[in-house]
């Protein structure tokens, strides 16, 4: 039987218990369905790539809606954090962000939360994401670039089409996109397969990869099976499923 007892990557701070006011400073469209929301949080304790936060909106009658969102930005962002949100059909929180929110609005956040999916930038990282599952992985890619880290980092990211690929203009040589519905001329259309994963595992660093998988449960099941089949140890696969 395989063993999972994978420890967290960092100690988690008690600061996460405090709700803080976050002020929306900028909205950037990423794809037809996704946009990035930049928030000023002066008391932000800092986070590691891969961590998430809890966010809440409050109606005039006191009704509260709260959701967990992955942090998209790298840690070194002086009191700012960025979230990239899909507009979910009938989503009361994502719907507010996409149709009502404007710079100057305030929301409340607490975090960062959970040290399990965090990447401090120490171990070689193999990132597999789909759709908005690329968001916490992009925080890792940005951190890697911002710090000029030399530790190996590779990313496989699945999207329906080039138009739906979040952060497309920002992706570099570390990233291989996989398109499931339509692709640019000369690029295959289809799911992520063993053929995408095997070459990366074949050229793994001496210490092996720490694998981070993020996306829907369907994608997480598929991608984690590909990794296991290609020889990645189960205890070095960290999964964040969007539910």
């Amino acid at each position: 039987m395989t063993r999972f007892a994978v420890p967290g990557r960092i100690a988690v701070s008690e600061q996460a218990a405090v709700w803080q006011t976050a002020t929306l400073t900028e909205i950037r469209r990423e794809t037809p369905r996704a946009a990035t929301f930049r928030l000023a949080v002066p008391g932000w304790a800092g986070h590691l790539p891969g961590q998430h936060l809890m966010l809440r909106l409050t109606a005039p009658d006191g009704y509260v809606a709260q959701r967990h969102y992955s942090i998209a930005s790298a840690p070194d962002d002086s009191g700012h954090i960025e979230l990239t949100l899909d507009q979910v059909p009938d989503g009361e929180v994502s719907g507010w962000f996409h149709t009502v929110a404007r710079p100057g609005d305030t929301v409340e956040v607490r975090g960062p939360l959970s040290g399990f999916f965090a990447w401090p930038g120490d171990r070689p990282a193999l990132l597999l994401g789909a759709g908005s599952g690329v968001v916490p992985l992009m925080s890792m890619v940005r951190h890697h670039r911002a710090r000029g880290l030399t530790v190996p980092l590779r990313m496989l990211v699945s999207a329906r089409s080039p138009e739906e690929l979040i952060y497309a203009a920002e992706l570099g040589a570390e990233t291989t996109p996989v398109f499931t519905r339509s692709a640019p001329p000369g690029v295959a259309v289809g799911r992520m397969t063993a053929a995408h994963v095997a070459p990366i595992l074949a050229e793994q660093p001496a210490t092996g990869w720490e694998a981070y998988v993020c996306g829907s449960n369907g994608f997480a099941e598929h991608a984690s099976r590909l990794l296991v089949a290609a020889g990645q140890p189960v205890e070095r696969i960290r999964i964040e499923r969007f539910g």
Binding site: V6, G8, A59, W96, V107, F116, N217, V234, G243
Partner: protein, 201 residues
Amino acid sequence: MNVTRGFTGRPRVHNPGLPPGQYDARDDWPVLSAEVTPDLAPADWSFRVDGLVERPHTWDWDAAHALPASAYEGDIHCVTGWSKFGVRFGGVSLDAFLNVVRPRESATHALAYSHTGYTTNLPLADLTGGRAWIVWEYDGAPLPPEHGGPARLVVPHLYFWKSAKWIAGVTLLDHDEPGFWERNGYHARGNPWEEQRYSGD
């Protein structure tokens, strides 16, 4: 109160079964495990209770099924915010297992562990008195692997990360020992009615 400009939210439904900060997931049952779903057949499954007990014991699939059947019908609550109403789990009450091993007076807490190595801690009092089950059926069908099949722990009055999937055993202790998520910042007990989500709540 920090009102969000222009936010109205979903139509208000008075639902006394919904703990604070939760929403009704309706037909959804999100899967949120942090590890690879194990390939675990019923024939390879076992469940052990040990630690501060008179007679440590291990049950295989058939032996566990020979205990008196017991079902949970009610609600479940996940720390990520969704609650699910009117679920039906079939299995055996944890009391039936504890009656065999006989906990010692000194046992106050438990560490539940999975066949994957996942762990979660609970006060022993949360596992007794008809409030916890080992289940292998959901809605009359075998529990799917993604949801912890072939068998999982169900402790429905606490946030659902306490209901360890792919349950392999429970060790009784005389102290509280944080499990997997509890070491990653989650609350030691996780009572949804007191919104004990994270350490410090």
